[in-house]
Symmetry: C2
Subunit: 457 residues, 2 copies
Amino acid sequence: MTIGGHHNKLEELFNKSDVKLGDSVIVETNNATHIGILIPRYEYADDNHLVLKLKNGYNIGINLGKIKSIKKMIEKSDATNKSNIDYNYRDNFSYENMDQNLSQSQLPNLSLLSTGGTISSKIDYRTGGVMAALTAKELNDSIPELMKIANIDPEVILTEYSENIKPEHWSLIAKKIANNILSGKYEGIIVSHGTDTMHYTSAALSFALQNLPIPVVLVGAQRSSDRPSSDASLNLIGACTFATKSKFSGVFVAMHYSISDDVIACHIGTRVRKNHTSRRDAFHSIDVYPFSLIKKDQIKIPNQYTDLIFQERNKNFEDMIVRPNFENKVSLLKFYPGFDCRMFDYCIKLGHKAIILEGTGLGHINKECFSQIKNAIDNGILIFMTSQCIWGRIALTVYDTGRDLLNLGVIPLSNTTSETALVKAMWCLGNFNEEKDVIKTMTTNIANEFTNRIPVE
Amino acid sequence: MTIGGHHNKLEELFNKSDVKLGDSVIVETNNATHIGILIPRYEYADDNHLVLKLKNGYNIGINLGKIKSIKKMIEKSDATNKSNIDYNYRDNFSYENMDQNLSQSQLPNLSLLSTGGTISSKIDYRTGGVMAALTAKELNDSIPELMKIANIDPEVILTEYSENIKPEHWSLIAKKIANNILSGKYEGIIVSHGTDTMHYTSAALSFALQNLPIPVVLVGAQRSSDRPSSDASLNLIGACTFATKSKFSGVFVAMHYSISDDVIACHIGTRVRKNHTSRRDAFHSIDVYPFSLIKKDQIKIPNQYTDLIFQERNKNFEDMIVRPNFENKVSLLKFYPGFDCRMFDYCIKLGHKAIILEGTGLGHINKECFSQIKNAIDNGILIFMTSQCIWGRIALTVYDTGRDLLNLGVIPLSNTTSETALVKAMWCLGNFNEEKDVIKTMTTNIANEFTNRIPVE
């Protein structure tokens, strides 16, 4: 018999101390005093620890042998607590009005689609590594705060680390989202996803699902959900808050805004990138501010994005455009000194239809490759230029090299990121037969992959 | 007859107004009043404009037809001017002692090697584009402030945009630097270079030239030297200041620290990256703070880098290690969803000896490519893992995918950037015959390509 994953020894301790899961408690050990909320462990975890969710968002495991006492506490309001986050963009943000104090029956419905990744992983205590295993249901159960935000329908649609996610998975996810939207049951869709390629998937969904009536929010974690210091909990809370309360629809990525455990940034699906291997705040908006910041139940939206494409949440399901096809035969080639120009020849041999060329600076490549580029274009391969700089805009009219590339037929993609450009090319080739339609679509702003203004330029 | 590139109409105006090149002047036009220093134009520029260097560092061209008057002014000391730069790292920096007020004959000697790029480019008034053309001498002449810092020997060794710079050019530049150092004439070496691949070259020189007795500073410009708003002038001044006054040797990159025209950041050659296509402050130190900040004649050095490899300036020329060879047969493959695993087969066909695999997150790639990776390794290709996240560290022991890659023989490179890893692999293969020496060197910290501590982790 277990208490939500807590085992017999714990049950005994809980009974003795008159506490239960979800209580705010003070735990005294030999060395320290911990204050937090008692949360469940998963059933396969060992039974020598209880798990406490601290106020800073971290979970800690406390060895039962070290516990001197557990007492229930009545929490004071933390309304006067000051955040230690530095709101860089404070002056640019306005507040949306929030509906507060909804009762459970009035709570909005969210669909939570689990695809795998760290957010739905657990530590393998045998190897010490992390394995994809948790279900969406286990995830939902392990974060009791979610129950105050929405009625969540969890569903496992994939169990893949995101490095294994392929364009065919994007199609599957897009179709599933579209189905759940068309059911009319949900105020928003949450997609839990591995972080490694989450920005590729968010771009894919931004093209595959247009004129969305409700928000689709991708969310991941940099540390697994059953680990102390996991960021999964706050990321999911932020994603669900945005998905239920934002007045805007579209595809977004919700992740930590800083290493502090208090503010979640919601990024535009086509303008976000994983820029750190391990930090909680690894995801950055590129060439724009984050679309919104979420702190507790407040959503801040910057004022300055009058030129971005967004629509308000609506009921016009019939306007939704679903184009879930992707064509794999696209290469992304990153240029570098000593680059072997024969790579272009090989793309022809592989039967690829487009190349995203990640050039240097404003969009350059060694002139020695010009003949191979010409040959690839003559063989019907579309070549699009992006920059390995990450930030900033392609400009092929400034230098000789750029003008030569334009003359060869290379197509510049302004400030579309390389990752989004790759995904968009796969999507265009999956949905349009005519080359002219592919080129026209690639150079047209569909989902904010081009931005007119770059802040702080 | 010309005045330092200024033509006859100008000469007349200068005589009439009793001003000369180098004077601080107030220029009244129909619309505005400009205060600045009269500086020369190049002889091929049109003769309808004078060029004024404003206090903020920008050069402007003023149409002669619009000028109502020019008056010489006596500048007040600007010692009380406050900088508008935000020193993020202010508390971490200490000041080096400076020798002030050196007379010209006491000035140190610097070697300025020009390789091409925007810093030595001019606008082609016919096409409106930018062409590589200025010589080191013209550059030196156009920035009179340099004469107060050092006696500069300019020399043109290449005239290439940096996207055309190849490993064989790195060898040439390294040998030339070594020769000039061995001449014993110089306190420092400046290399002017296109910005597109300047960070690749700085990494190359960091490996090719070790135990340097004096600093080698690469410098570029995001806007050409003869353009208003060029950043060339301050970048060169900062580079020369550091090269003459730093007590440390090594290979560095000097570029704007912010978009303000007052502080230059000096980055470690192996830890720097061009992160914006067009901004002046495009170059960022990755996973470390900039090695130093230069403002006027002050050099600030952070305190916290006790674990970095640096040596003080010295006279031990015989200790300098010059290994200028590079082997081109290295690929950098950036992984992405839908990546064609046959790319590994093609690297075998191309006869490549090593692959830098730019994986996702902590160093991952789709498991479907494992057999091709095994095949490449079985064919004698060394595969090293870096991350496309840019910031943060590779860790192949955390997830299944990483452990599988380790078992296949993939070698993780911690927080070496992809660009530096590529250059280092080319260098190792160019200088060591034994595979075990290549692997050992690739995983050993030579020039700060690995850092132990990551600030603000």
